[in-house]
Chain length 613, copies 2
């Protein structure tokens, strides 16, 4: 029953590929409406407007405040790409009504190597979604409460700890619960755009300084491309709906496609609207306050609507981070089922959560946040690459899918996805070339490393499977002689319990003790014989009274004598009532067990003895 | 055979109370001559001259350089105390020819509570000996190689790591090996004193600045007492010989007493000699160079004798730190044998070393060194308290010993030790009152905390012992029915091996698998029946396919059905050839084992399956 590779090869996945791997909650409700789909699967995409435009502006401002005039044109280009992506993903929905992310698509339609690339990109994507969303959320909170502005790392890490704990306990997210914050967020952003376009509050009322950024670069194509690359972070997450199609209400494909289009329209409108507002109000990135917060202040002033709106942004960013906690552990469990990660990643104990995956995600995100001190814009160069690799793989997979299936108008469909794939692949090249030194190199190292890790793990498990002759019927089991050895030192209740258990499982039971010399050995034998348990005792003499070594040597000698005997070493173990008392017990027994397992073929049996005091 | 309290109650200590608990190496050679005794048991005391006088001067200089004129008088007072201590300890030697430190004396002659105080003080003493010796050794090395002077913490921690590794591997110290450095050290110091008294090199050639310390305090009684307290660190370690009497050549008591007196004479002469030299040369404490190094330079100039002499000092300080590695782990093992520390502290695995004690000592010393950034003088206020508490306890014990035994001239003996006890007790009060805020508070918190820890541990083990009815003969063991459960998922070589072992130890063997629904259950049953292993299978249906929970529930149901049956759960475990592959295997099996142990009374048996490729 070992959970090693072979034992699980034929077991079916007990968890369908949902999550943000398909973007949303893990419960399959089959009842998502368009609005529900937006809440459950699009928070990651929608919340991108909180950091995407600002990331772009921070690149442009390196060439001086006047360069910010390119904000609107670049946003329009990105919105154009968004349109193509949305069209492309409505196709993905039609082609893969069972959902499944880039990993599943690549495994099915392209090949194992590409699926490794997809998996590695997705891991990077999930980790960065958590880090970026939390960093942006902290920045948003810092805009509202300036006291927090100097402790963004602390705020982000606190959020991370909260999310981790909540997810370790297991949460049953529901689309209905998410609907409130989502609606509030969308209404806030639209209100900011509409009200902000109509009236003008002074913008300079918030933030630390007028113009903290100095022109350091010339405005040129490279800078524009960099700004585009940074701005593309605003369209991350649009793949989620396509991956969660099974969760939608019937007719599934239609509902999902409608949701995807709604997301596209909403996201596009918000991006363009905010870009227009930025131009109208001449907003400039400032320290201690986000661009979005400045726009909110410009529209509402700094009264309660300002607070409500910014807190909604913070909340939605935190929920976006939470989607990764739904997604990455599930992806890791799928990788583990494919023998590409240690099997412990699909191990669940008391609670139905993949805690190893959750902890891995939390640690990786914490390292990232710490490395950049929770500055969103330092993470952006790393972020978009993984997402766009996923976009590209999904669409290449789809082109192959259409060519193979040849449904009506397959050429048009393939062309659409092909254009999409080329576009996103070009975007990846742009990201890599312009942002390499600013952080993209991390991804170019991490992704191949992870691919090697997955591949090595898979190969190792395959070797083990062949050694265990998996798939072949093993010989019939047969009964052998058995000897039970009970290590002991003094006669007490524990010894008696151990002998009871030993006698129950074998007719040949031997007590074993260790003494420093013959005299002590005689003493031990006498005490044993006085008790008269009906079981012989063997006293091993070792001048150093080295217990573990002596017992191991004895077990080896027995196994050498008779190869066809099952040797069982029965070790009683005290189970204290309180966990913290564990350190006071059993170390020698555990040590003996561990050494026996690694050095001999003996069965190591542990008899628990529960304390009641 | 569990190593819980009761199992060891009657076992004899397999390690006599030697070590620096008795100050020296752990091998009992029974052959120490006076010179050998000085090398093996007095390094800690002798090396104190490297930091004691300087610690005193650093206190005095707070009242200006002129206050340094008190160096000699205070040294004379301390030397007077040394004389009384040496006389007192020659008595200890006569009274306790079997050795044993303050802990053993207090346990035997005073009572359990005082022995706890002695133990806690000794722990503090050992840890501080390591920290102080390494810090002083680093300072000494930094005096010779100024490049190291700014990295004293690094130097000290490197030394600590080296000592820890060497001790984890186990070393067989020998007095002969230690004799070389000891002789070199003593000769160096005496040469410094003699040569320094005869000729004068310019002192100011080494060190960073002329007078880096500014007068900040008025000269008064408090300052003098503080200087006395700091200087007392020079007499730490004189107890070691008395604790190591069994190691001496016959006539043991005479040899040991002669060694103690030799130590007193040597140490006293060095202290007074150095104090005289300090006065003659007007030496002032300086940054980056120790007082002893300045004196050496004054005597020899900065040629090769300067290097040899200082390196001898460094070496002897490192060896002094090493004596604690011989002592504390042994003390902790004795405390563990008395059930006052977790029993794991007397657990030894492959090598005959108490690695848990060694690691505990290394960690504590590292924390201390880090906290004071390896500045010797910040550790001094913490150091002497523990040592002098030990002095006091030993002598009070001796007074009681004389009163009970009433040998010839017992009144004189008791008076001598009584005076000694009062003197050291007063010294403790002086240390505490003058140095409280400078670090002594750490000790006043640490010691009671440790006493509580020891006491609580002892009480806990006593409760466990009573629950195990220790000391009473248990009932006779009797045979019961047994059922072996073999959790499995698919039929493979591992299953076959597990069934072989299971059949060997019981006639009733049941395979157990978990399926998500009836259909899957039928499938598993069919595969099993096709193999036809001659063992029935029970397929547990659980919609979540929760393996661990289902198996535990099944085991509980069997135990409920028949209380008089021994249930064994046999779990195969893959043992990979390389240790790093451990993470790829067995997590589910281990989880199942752990949950079974904590929730049921079932015997958890593990069958190791060794991979070969």
């Amino acid at each position: 029953m070992s959970d090693s590779a072979p034992a699980e090869v034929t077991a079916k996945a007990d968890q369908p590929p949902t999550g943000k791997l398909s973007g949303g909650p893990r419960r399959r409700e089959h009842t998502l409406s368009t609005a529900g789909g937006l809440s459950a699967l699009s928070l990651d995409a929608l919340s991108s407007v909180a950091y995407g435009p600002e990331a772009m502006m921070l690149v442009l401002i390196a060439a001086g405040a006047s360069a910010l005039r390119f904000t609107l044109p670049i946003t329009l280009v990105i919105t154009g790409m968004l349109v193509l992506l949305v069209i492309s993903y409505t196709q993905v929905i039609a082609a893969h009504p069972d959902g499944g992310g880039a990993y599943a698509v690549a495994k099915q339609d392209i090949g194992p190597r590409t699926s490794l690339l997809a998996a590695a990109s997705l891991v990077v994507d999930y980790v960065l979604t958590v880090a970026v969303s939390l960093a942006a959320g902290a920045a948003s909170l810092g805009s509202v409460f300036p006291a927090l502005a100097h402790h963004l790392l602390l705020v982000a890490l606190t959020g991370l700890v909260l999310l981790t704990v909540v997810n370790l306990f297991g949460i049953s997210e529901s689309a209905k619960l998410l609907m409130g914050p989502t609606v509030l967020f969308i209404v806030s952003i639209i209100a900011v755009i509409v009200v902000g376009a109509l009236r003008r509050h002074p913008v300079a009322v918030i933030g630390t300084s007028e113009a903290p950024f100095h022109a350091t670069e010339a405005l040129g194509l490279v800078l524009i491309l960099k700004a585009f690359a940074a701005g593309c972070s605003a369209v991350t997450g649009v793949e989620a709906i396509a991956n969660g199609v099974p969760q939608f209400r019937k007719p599934r494909i239609r509902t999902a496609q409608r949701t995807e289009v709604s997301l596209g329209v909403l996201l596009g409108a918000m991006l363009v609207g905010l870009a227009l507002l930025i131009r109208v109000h001449h907003v400039v990135p400032r320290g201690g306050v986000t661009v979005l917060a400045q726009l909110t202040a410009a529209a509402f002033g700094t009264g309660w609507p300002y607070y409500v709106s910014n807190l909604a942004v913070t909340l939605v960013l935190a929920l976006a981070a939470n989607t990764s906690f739904g997604g990455l552990p599930v992806l890791m469990s799928l990788l583990a089922k494919d023998h590409r990660l240690p099997h412990l990643f699909y191990l669940r104990a008391e609670r139905p959560v993949y805690r190893h995956g959750i902890i891995a995600l939390a640690l990786l995100a914490a390292v990232l946040l710490g490395a950049v001190e929770a500055e969103t814009n330092k993470l952006i160069p790393l972020f978009t690459i993984g997402v766009f690799v996923g976009f590209t793989i999904s669409q290449i997979g789809l082109v192959r899918h259409w060519r193979r299936k040849r449904p009506p108008r397959w050429r048009l469909r393939a062309a659409l996805n092909g254009v999409g794939a080329v576009m996103t692949a070009v975007a990846v090249c742009v990201f890599l070339s312009t942002k390499f030194l600013e952080g993209a190199w991390v991804v170019t190292i991490a992704v191949p490393l992870m691919m090697i890790l997955f591949w090595q793990t898979e190969r190792y498990y395959a070797e083990v499977a062949s050694e265990l002759k998996l798939g072949k019927t093993p010989p019939h089991p047969r009964k052998r002689q058995s000897i039970v050895i009970v290590p002991t030192s003094t006669v007490n209740l524990l010894t008696e319990q151990a002998l009871c258990a030993a006698l129950s499982i074998s007719d040949t039971v031997i007590g074993v003790a260790v003494a420093a010399d013959e005299k002590e050995a005689q003493h031990v034998k006498r005490a044993w014989d006085e008790w008269h348990p009906g079981v012989p005792i063997e006293v091993l003499v070792d001048p150093h009274r080295a217990f573990v070594r002596s017992v191991v040597r004895y077990v080896k000698s027995i196994q050498k004598e008779d190869l066809d005997v099952t040797v069982v070493v029965l070790i009683p173990e005290i189970i204290p009532r309180r966990r913290r008392h564990e350190i006071l017990h059993n170390q020698r027994g555990r040590l003996l067990g561990a050494v026996l397992k690694s050095r001999t073929n003996a069965v190591v049996a542990t008899l628990p003895f529960h304390l009641h005091e």
